[in-house]
């Protein structure tokens, strides 16, 4: 219905068939291992030997690279350049321009930070490409997360596109009435209230009606709820989750032990 807003790509792959919780644990443990590992090359290794194969197995490699190249890579390049130039570190200078220099140490640090962030974003991107948020939420509420949390997340996903469309409508409407949204700074500041006001008041008015509607449908009921869709949780899923948690703990122990 609102696929546009989520990353989810509907495919049939072993990763898509995993339990949503397993995939969430996988994403989190990859991030934790990348950040906790005492070895310098771990994030790069994770990216090359875990995340790239995962994206292929999940058959979302094209969407994954599309997102990484268009959205993430430019940020990471800027981040690398800024960090390489400005992170403090006294060591052999390898590059100098306009009195700014990249030293060996700062370049190493910058590369590590960038790789960590790449692993973090990639592992969550793969989770989101293969898992629909509402599937994840319904699995979480099946495991005991209060239903209200699932309600907030899922209805946000529906309301946000509506609200963005409404914001666009209000901008056009106020412009057609002569609101200046492009000239001097002060004029633009003056534009905030006539744009934000209608949007916020309009959406808050609906809140009360919606509250009555969902209360009438047993929102506050504390009795056990049934689920429309059964989500598979195989013994392989459970084993994989424990293995991943064990890996994180092992990394943590190594980190403490080696430092």
């Amino acid at each position: 219905m609102h696929e546009r807003l989520s990353f989810f790509v509907k495919r049939d792959s072993p990763i898509h068939r995993l339990n949503p919780m397993t995939k969430a644990v996988m994403a989190l443990s990859l991030v934790l291992i990348a950040f906790l590992s005492p070895w310098y090359w771990t994030p790069l290794a994770l990216f090359l030997f875990v995340i790239l194969p995962l994206s292929l197995v999940a058959r979302v490699a094209r969407e994954y690279w599309n997102f990484i190249l268009k959205v993430i890579l430019p940020t990471l390049i800027i981040l690398f350049i800024m960090q390489a130039f400005f992170l403090p570190g006294e060591s052999r200078s390898i590059f100098e321009v306009f009195g700014l220099e990249i030293t060996e140490l700062s370049a190493r640090l910058a590369f590590r930070n960038v790789m960590r962030i790449l692993v973090m974003i990639s592992s969550f991107t793969i989770l989101l490409l293969t898992t629909h948020p509402s599937e994840l939420m319904s699995d979480l509420s099946r495991r005991g997360l209060p239903g209200q949390f699932a309600y907030v997340v899922i209805s946000s996903l529906q309301i946000i596109p509506q609200m963005q469309a409404k914001a666009q409508t209000i901008i056009s409407a106020q412009r057609s009435r002569g609101l200046d949204t492009q000239s001097s700074f002060l004029r633009r500041v003056g534009g905030i209230l006539p744009l934000v006001g209608p949007l916020v008041f309009g959406s808050l008015v609906e809140v009360e009606e919606r509250a009555i509607a969902i209360e009438a449908r047993g929102f506050t009921s504390t009795r056990p709820k049934t689920f429309l869709r059964e989500i598979q949780d195989t013994s392989f899923d459970r084993a994989l989750r424990w293995a991943l948690i064990a890996c994180v703990i092992l990394t943590l122990i190594l980190r403490i032990w080696l430092s």
């Binding site: 981040l79 400005f86 962030i117 997340v153 946000i160 949204t181 633009r188 809140v207």
Partner: protein, 243 residues
């Protein structure tokens, strides 16, 4: 109206009273507040203003539904941004939660009742947001993020400050304008809402305006703001000078 407000005042005297704050209206308000965060962020981007104003919804919930509801809204808002736009937002959820929490606490202490008190709240929220973003910036991004704040950090590092001090200083420089504007806008919105609507929410007493603002109070408030700013400058001087 007055009576119900007074009754609810008695019930919510402790800001740890969590259960009461999470009624159905609160739960329904949260996704709307999250959408408001994003839509207002979009409007501000259209107007090309040097602020984000992407936590107005979070502050609204914090003020009118209590600190814990505000904290939850902030945390979920960042999670949803991460789920839908860019996973890069995910590590910043504690900052968003702190913004909601602190705005709720400020409101409980009566700091959302007139515009100058709201300025003070905005400043306090900014301080809390700046402090809580420092560890994340350091741990996740190694200190320098790829944005305007990162530029300031980079400049401070280049002029000889330590990385921790530079991250602190750049957060303190960028947060107040954004958060004070956010708080003032949230206040303006709350003033425009009908009393009937507010009474359905958990903490309507937080936004009942003071009937008369005495001159003394105003002077005290201006003094507090000046002192806070001086304190911040002092703190900045110490932090940056220490390196």
């Amino acid at each position: 109206m007055r009576e119900t407000a007074m009754r609810s005042q008695k019930q919510s005297s402790s800001w740890l009273n969590i259960g009461k704050d999470f009624n159905t209206m609160t739960w329904v308000l949260m996704p709307v507040a999250i959408a408001i965060n994003m839509a207002v962020g979009q409007i501000v981007a259209t107007l090309r203003l040097p602020v984000y104003l992407d936590s107005i919804g979070t502050v609204l919930v914090g003020v009118i539904c209590g600190p814990w509801a505000g904290a939850l809204t902030g945390a979920l808002a960042n999670t949803i941004l991460g789920l839908t736009i860019n996973p890069d937002f995910l590590p910043w959820w504690p900052v968003a939660a702190i913004i909601g929490l602190v705005s709720g606490i400020c409101a409980n202490y009566g700091l959302f009742k007139s515009w100058w008190k709201v300025v003070v709240s905005g400043f306090i929220i900014a301080l809390a947001a700046a402090i809580s973003s420092v560890p994340i910036s350091l741990l996740v991004y190694g200190g320098i993020t790829a944005g305007g704040t990162g530029m300031i950090t980079a400049f401070l590092v280049e002029s000889g400050r330590g990385i921790v001090q530079a991250v602190f200083a750049s957060s303190f420089l960028t947060e107040p304008v954004d958060k004070i504007t956010t708080a003032l806008l949230a206040f303006a919105i709350l003033q425009g809402l009908s009393k009937r609507f507010l009474a359905r929410l958990p903490r309507p007493e937080n936004v009942e305006t003071d009937e008369k603002i005495s001159r003394n109070q105003l002077l005290i408030a201006v003094g507090v703001v000046v002192l806070l700013i001086l304190f911040a400058i002092f703190l900045l001087g110490r932090l940056t000078g220490a390196a």
